[in-house]
Symmetry: C2
Subunit: 368 residues, 2 copies
């Protein structure tokens, strides 16, 4: 966290509605009555100290963060560590089912979970555009803190920079996750092999379609919501159900399920065939995709995973998934073969086969 | 690193001039002949895979990064870990003595070093504005990789996002550092106590004045250079010289030496008195500061530190510092007392005393 005087640390707010918390972080000093962020909030002086003391620390609490040293110190015991960083630039900042704050926590926890790692700590670096409403910043920070608390992971360090109006788009959040890998866990995109089974944890495309519908002002936008969620508990259940059976995990974010599977097929030098009619897609997501000219296979999710599993462990893994709230709709959608390395194909409803290639560029910019 | 197919990993480039490297990362495919970044370079598709394969991986090399999994896996042995994140938004992107790439590596290594931690690994998350010249991006990434290599720290994971023209200012880089703390090392802003001595490692203010002079187009800008440098080896030498004697370390970045010492005085509930004429400031930095109406005490450094040291260990620590390239000009600049908690004062050349307060807002925006 950026320099500032040691604050009198407010008590960690209990789980309460965001409105009540909004009041908390404006007390006792209402950020010098600022309603918008100004450059001085990033300057390492009194204004920044106030922003951190009255808005950021009350939201996150936590003993490590409030020490305000240059780095957080953690006791990790022994073992292998997983480390990941993600820059979040989603537009708009708030959307049905989430906001950039919660999304940044979920996205980073999920990147750790996809390695089979248990999340140990998060850091958050904010780049704020001058003029952002303090109110909006407060809601997003509160939501971010709630997401971290609900996932059982502490935000232990951070940084806040403010840039001039026009030099950023509201708010960018880069989150880093540090995780611990249990002994024997060995998951990676290069581990798929012929005969393995391809699973998904639930319906795909909700996140991308929810955001795009809001941007496009579609009428049914209100019925759509992002699937943004932390997957580490689902993964823990899967790994416990059949030790060694889960070979690859991936959350299909940018580029969707198609890109995630292309990447796996490439890394493992195998072919993957999907049964397209087995892939769960909510009806409203399917309609909206069709209206917007999008293929749901390429639309990002933020709370789903795809897994490549040894055939011997599939039943146990599926059962464990379906007992978890985020895996109720888990199912088999395809299989791995020693066909052409890197090739992903889909068998369509009428029995044809199409190549599911990596897209060239950006189907949905600023989606996460 | 963002999703993409497993690349054929080019050999790690040897230390060579940046020009030669610039050629390397444009081979074999010249990024589809793009001269500027387009949105598709952030979309998780082929274009992004090419950017990563042909520009980012050849620069950083490293076995961990090239695995392109969702998170890097590290073996940290046992012990305490330090974790820090910094968002870098410096303007301009390139300046005398450095650029945003090298600065982001140095700044993050320094945050770890200020806890007494040995850097273990870095991550880098880039937010790129559409339209940034690939040439500029290449120079910065090459410089970033050179800074990491020269400091002996590997960049193990990363992320790349591209936002529309006007939604960012060229390039922002958020770096995260993971470090290991040796047993017995216990350094923190709350550990200063009456009788301790205040050191600085060298002349202050070079970084801030170098950047500001370029921005303002001052004639003597060419004679100024940022002090941007990694301080972990200097710190290791200090800690080895007198175990337990170094109580607080701080790199005076935003807000300069004045803010760093205010923060320490607050955290430790002590007073600090500086002998202002003992504080080293290069003549050209002093002249430029005076011209620009700035007090060098508030001007950021990126390769200097201030230390609070037990009086019994000061001689040994100073000797060790002066043997290191980055500590040749190390000296004593003040002392700690049990005066009013949080008060920092300066004894001026003519014997007067002034209060050195925390500034209110932003003296030098976008300086790091």
């Amino acid at each position: 966290m950026a320099p500032g005087p040691t604050p009198t640390v407010p008590a960690l707010p209990e789980e309460a509605d965001a409105g009540a918390r909004l009041q908390e972080w404006t007390c006792p000093v209402p950020l010098r009555d600022h309603e918008h962020v100004i450059l001085g909030h990033g300057g390492g002086g009194r204004l920044q100290a106030e922003l951190i003391e009255h808005l950021i620390l009350p939201a996150f609490g936590g003993r490590t963060l409030t020490r305000l040293a240059d780095a957080a110190v953690l006791d990790a015991g022994r073992g292998r560590l997983a480390l990941t960083s993600d820059a979040h630039v989603v537009h708009p900042l708030e959307f049905p089912g989430g906001d950039i704050g919660a999304l940044s926590v979920h996205g980073t926890i999920n990147d750790l979970a996809m390695m089979g790692a248990r999340p140990l700590a998060l850091t958050a670096a904010l780049i704020i555009e001058e003029g952002l409403a303090i109110d909006v910043l407060g809601r997003i920070i509160t939501s971010m803190a709630a997401a971290a608390r609900s996932a059982g992971v502490e935000v232990v360090a951070g940084d806040t920079k403010v840039v001039e109006r026009g030099s950023a788009d509201g708010l960018f959040i880069t989150t880093t996750g540090l995780g611990v890998l249990a002994d024997g866990v060995n998951i990676g995109p290069e581990r798929a092999r012929a005969g393995d089974v391809v699973l998904v944890s639930g319906p795909i495309g909700d996140h991308g379609i929810a955001i795009l519908s809001v941007r496009e002002g579609l009428e049914f936008a209100g019925e759509l919501a992002s699937d943004s969620a932390p997957l580490h508990e689902l993964v823990a259940a899967m790994l416990a159900a059949a030790p060694g059976a889960v070979r690859v995990l991936r959350d299909p974010t940018r580029g969707g399920l198609a890109s995630a599977l292309n990447e796996i097929a490439n890394s493992s030098a195998v072919a993957i065939e999907l049964q397209e009619r087995e892939i769960p897609v909510r009806e409203i997501v399917a309609s909206a995709s069709s209206l917007l000219g999008l293929d749901p296979l390429y639309v990002p999710c933020e709370g789903r995973l795809t897994a490549i599993v040894d055939p011997g462990g599939v039943e146990a893994v599926l059962e464990a998934m379906r007992r978890e709230p985020l895996g109720v709709e888990a199912c088999v959608v395809g299989s791995v073969s020693d066909g052409p390395a890197g090739l992903v194909t889909g068998r369509t409803g009428i029995g044809g086969v199409r190549v599911i290639d990596l897209q060239i560029g950006e189907q949905l910019p600023r989606i996460c």
